[in-house]
Subunit: 429 residues, 2 copies
């Protein structure tokens, strides 16, 4: 890879998510060369992917060109690349566009959907971790409604209109709420010929509460909100298989659906070369110390979802969420400067800023360290925080316009099948 050589140490960052971007920004005024590698040319604001899937937002407004984030930093280089292997012994990474030597390496590759080894579910279900995946889900939902109109087989129509979401975390909850609002607000207008009662939304949760990890009050209230929206919540139930038609569980219960959305878990997006058992934990994350240093390496670090930092409060590692990623990215930026200047690094301390989830219009739950609240005010807080953390003024404006419009008009206008998922209509392109 033809990156110019300088006298500054070269820091290679793999991944332009929350952690990678926070780190690169911190390093932007330092005497280092930063090379950021990502397989997309944009940063994705993952917390709003579910709104892309459900036609509430356009994908472009939750994505931001990575090159633009760091355009004023002369020692910054971005390459659109997929890292295939890390060769720690030779201080280099191997990518689809060539090899690259590093002085320091930061793995910020994030996480990917965890199917817990079930290949059948992986093949037949929909995930929602990237913008293309979210657009595929949007297309599939709309294509299913179109197909439901065409069949006279009630059983098949039922399956096309049913949605089964596996996982009661924020992603599952927010998606279920949005689908319930589509059922209520869009379906009767767009598809007057379809019996909307057939459109059932199910959340299947293996544990005994949804939004596990948030407060009991938040969990209960979210459940209450979802039930008012008509979402069916199944707790203590585990999905065991899905052949594209029938969802089987660990009980006699089965669900007929054309759409299984798998939001039941994530695991670290490991990279060959750093995936041996020595430094990998249960969730396939890289074990790091309090300086985000990957155990066993002096010049390799990991931040964000891929990093497993064990603390007293979090014996299984910090949660795989935006906040730890951003905080670690920032702190590592400072620490790398200290390291290069041969000063001692400062240990990372996680500041828990709380968690939140939205269920639907006027309905959200917020757990702050000192206050917990639910309902309309929580919903405003949720929106404000998400607008605040979204990168880019234009993105904020466009998302804001869409939210105001959707709220006032009870609408979601981005219900567009831009790229068919079923590829049924090849002529459409």
């Amino acid at each position: 890879m033809n990156i110019p050589k300088t006298s500054f140490p070269r820091i290679v960052i793999i991944g332009g998510g929350f952690a990678g971007i926070a780190l690169a920004k911190k390093l932007s005024k330092q005497e280092v060369q930063v090379v950021l590698l990502d397989k997309h040319n944009y940063h994705t604001f993952q917390p709003l992917l579910y709104q892309v899937s459900t036609g509430g937002l356009e994908p472009d407004s939750i994505a931001y060109p990575i090159r633009k984030v760091l355009k004023d930093f002369p020692n910054f280089h971005f390459r659109l690349a997929h890292v295939e292997e890390i060769v720690a012994a030779e201080n280099k990474v191997i990518t689809n566009i060539g090899e690259l030597k590093f002085d320091y390496l930061v793995v910020a590759s994030g996480s990917k959907t965890n199917y817990f080894g079930n290949a059948e579910i992986e093949k037949n279900s929909m995930a929602m971790k990237t913008i293309p995946q979210s657009l595929n889900l949007r297309s599939l939902i709309l294509e299913n409604f179109e197909d439901a109109l065409l069949t006279s087989d009630l059983h098949e129509r039922n399956a096309l209109m049913n949605f089964v979401i596996v996982g009661g975390g924020p992603t599952g909850v927010e998606l279920a709420g949005a689908l319930a609002e589509i059922k209520k607000g869009i379906l009767p207008k767009d598809y007057p010929d379809l019996d909307t009662r057939l459109a059932q939304i199910h959340i299947i949760q293996s544990g005994d509460c949804i939004l596990n990890g948030m407060s009991e009050k938040a969990s209960e209230k979210a459940e209450d909100f979802l039930e008012k929206l008509g979402v069916n919540i199944w707790k203590n139930l585990r999905v065991t298989g899905y052949d594209g038609k029938t969802v089987t569980t660990n009980t006699d219960l089965t669900f007929e659906t054309a759409t299984l959305i798998w939001a039941a878990g994530v695991k670290g997006a490991t990279i060959k070369g750093l995936d041996a058992s020595g430094y990998i934990t249960k969730g396939e994350r890289l074990l790091v110390d309090e300086f985000n240093q990957v155990k066993g390496f002096a010049n390799i670090f990991a931040v964000g979802d891929i990093a497993c930092m064990v603390t007293n409060e979090f014996p299984n590692g910090l949660p795989m969420m935006a906040q730890p990623a951003i905080q670690q990215g920032k702190q590592l930026g400072d620490n790398m400067v200290r390291l290069i200047e041969k000063k001692p690094m400062k240990p990372f301390e996680y500041k828990d800023k709380g968690a939140m989830a939205t269920i639907g219009r006027n309905k959200a739950v917020v757990d702050l360290p000192k206050f917990k609240f639910q309902g309309v005010f929580a919903w405003y807080v949720w929106m404000f925080v998400h607008l605040f953390f979204l990168i880019g003024f234009r993105n904020r404006m466009v998302v804001f316009v869409n939210w105001v419009y959707n709220y006032v008009r009870f609408d979601r206008e981005a219900r567009l099948i831009i790229r068919p998922f079923k590829r049924r209509l090849k002529e459409a392109e």
Copy 2:
């Protein structure tokens, strides 16, 4: 196709473009059943496709759900379908989702790119008639810049940064202007390692002026604007071939480019069964009379680009543009009611409202029937008219926000490779 039978006559409309939507709206309060078939579930505002290709707008803001346009019309039915054949003798259409009988048929299938029989160009060039095509072009442009960074072969880098547009009509001119602004405003910031002088933009025009069909003043001024932006205009030159690397012409002149954009012509999007020589004209359009009735059929009509209506002023048929399509759609709506009520239909009279094209910021040309003007004021008029004709309040707001942002910041933030075109990075999805 299971469309409910009613006592009202059934009008089947093929295509949800300007003509089809205008017609369906006109019929919405009448005692008829309307079935609209389209292979997309959205109406595309084609005049702004070039801004999607060049990262100035998100695709969702120039598309509008067809179901939503007519949601208040109880006798309206939309089906996502590709019409494979028209069987006029049996009053039915055959589609990929089944057959459908009609009492009246309106072909509003629009136009498609005309490669004039050159299969090599068709295979290797990019078109810009649909949203997926425009997004492919956006991805390719950005991927080319990324690839240009990777090669040390100056010849190859040159080809990756060169853009050749064939056709000096509004599409070619507007795209060239937008590319020139990317070269000037985005390239130096995003790709400081690339020599922007290598990025050359060429328009190749077979005739002796660009914007043929507009006034001489508009043509000259547009040429002047483009040259100031650094676009190379080649007149009286015909492209004869493109193997994916080298553009050959009818002279010794050749161009090395990885991106050939074909905007040199359109032809009617004919449908099997109505494509025999009897009613097809040179541009593969259906010959219609002054009532938009396809010659030889009492209950089959055609409107918009696919319809060739010959007038004294337009011996080759009305221009293939939005205005004739909208006017014909509206008038045919009135005429069909008259026809059903057994009243005489009124002949169509085209009201020429003029034409316009934008070249870049503060630069546009406008020909109104009584006034012709160019420059800043023309640019405001262009924007106002385009916002006005865009369907949907949300779309207008989002486009407006983007335009203000792009203008103030000299920026185009939707420079995102959401779906790679070269499929080089399969892992990216």
